[in-house]
Symmetry: none
Subunit: 137 residues, 4 copies
């Protein structure tokens, strides 16, 4: 697994790490027993400080998703999204098609993002996971 930290996003680095592990679990890229990259590894590849990585891993451990084993690494303990991989793949394919259409219509990534967040917010006042929703009267 490879982490990508965007220093300009405003989201704290350690939360970006936590989030990326959770997403990998949801998507089935990671599962119980898998080993997370070592702290040293993440430091080398992403440039963040070791304490930042430790903080992220600690947080994951506290939420029960991960288990640190002294001397051997950090391992996934529990899964997250237990959706059937095939169903997931099918949904993904259809989503990708939609994105292609959107691109063709001239939308850039931020447009797409805005639309997605807006649609999710519309579902009867549901919370959008990333944080907000917009409503205009």
């Amino acid at each position: 697994m490879e982490f990508r930290i965007d220093r300009s996003s405003g989201l704290p680095a350690y939360l970006q790490l936590v989030r990326q592990v959770r997403e990998a679990l949801r998507l089935g890229w990671l599962g119980p027993g898998d080993r997370l990259p070592t702290v040293r590894d993440v430091v080398a590849r992403s440039g963040v400080n070791a304490n930042t990585v430790l903080k992220a891993y600690r947080e994951l451990e506290l939420s029960g998703l991960v288990e640190a084993r002294q001397g051997s690494g950090t391992f996934i303990k529990a899964g997250l999204g237990s959706t059937d991989p095939e169903v997931m793949a099918a949904l993904r394919t259809r989503l990708a098609e939609w994105v292609r259409e959107a691109r063709a219509a001239g939308l850039d990534t931020e447009d797409v993002d805005a639309l997605v967040r807006s649609v999710l917010a519309d579902e009867d006042g549901d919370q959008v996971t990333a944080g907000e929703g917009v409503a205009v009267r």
Copy 2:
């Protein structure tokens, strides 16, 4: 326009405000000449501090999207690459269908979010606007 602040998202409140204005512009909910809610209004409705709102509005002003007029309010100055509303609506409808399917398959909001981010990240290494991306080897 109504703002929603999610204190648990990790994203700074003022950036949530900035983002929501930008999204409203992208979606065509707001356009040049429109007035943003007054600082005091936002304070009353969202509970954040006045300085936080001021900071958000100031960043919007510096980026050229908005113009503050002392004594009268803050106004939209420029649009943000707005796509044809009809095309937008069509895309939105199709997206909403997809989301319904995803829901039916048991995905929760965080799953949907992960999928979207993953698909956007896949498009030839493009950056995801919200900040990160996940790549698994």
Copy 3:
């Protein structure tokens, strides 16, 4: 770099800071890679509040001139159309001569300032950077 804040000038302190950094860039006193004084440093030396300094640095960052790195400081990211230092020095010398003359003729600083602004304003209706201009019919 050392900042000087004049509380009686009417110009907001944070703008004085922004301006002084810009001027230092223009004059070649500062260049890419250089580190600005820490926020705490400026606070200690100039007496303004930390938030005021932060605000100035943030504006510089948004305008792309500077980059803040948490834990290590704020650094110059880009130059500002720097003219050849020798040419600059020559112009400076000649200007200094002119100022000496003006002083000898009895002009005080405010007179000199008024003259400069007036000459700059005269150049085909160009805008004076500091804000105003005077035209008498």
Copy 4:
């Protein structure tokens, strides 16, 4: 006399008005007995609010430069820079030459401004009237 207000300069509008009157006095454009434009006039031409103009005129009156005569207008009471007009003109000409040179060397207005402020600041620690000075160690 014509006022020019720059809303983006950061300097309060009423101070811009005050400053412009003072400059006109310094440069000899205005002298004792001259009448300032009426408040109504300034409002019409510059777009600022009447109270803002009144505040500026009041401030000028408090500093003894101007005198308001009920029903007839506001008049210059005292001069400021009493430098010989011919000397002033000569200095102005030489300054204009210098500015032309600077322009030819590629400096823009902000560069020129920075140089001037820097030279004025250098005169043995003298205060620059507009507010600041920059010193780099």
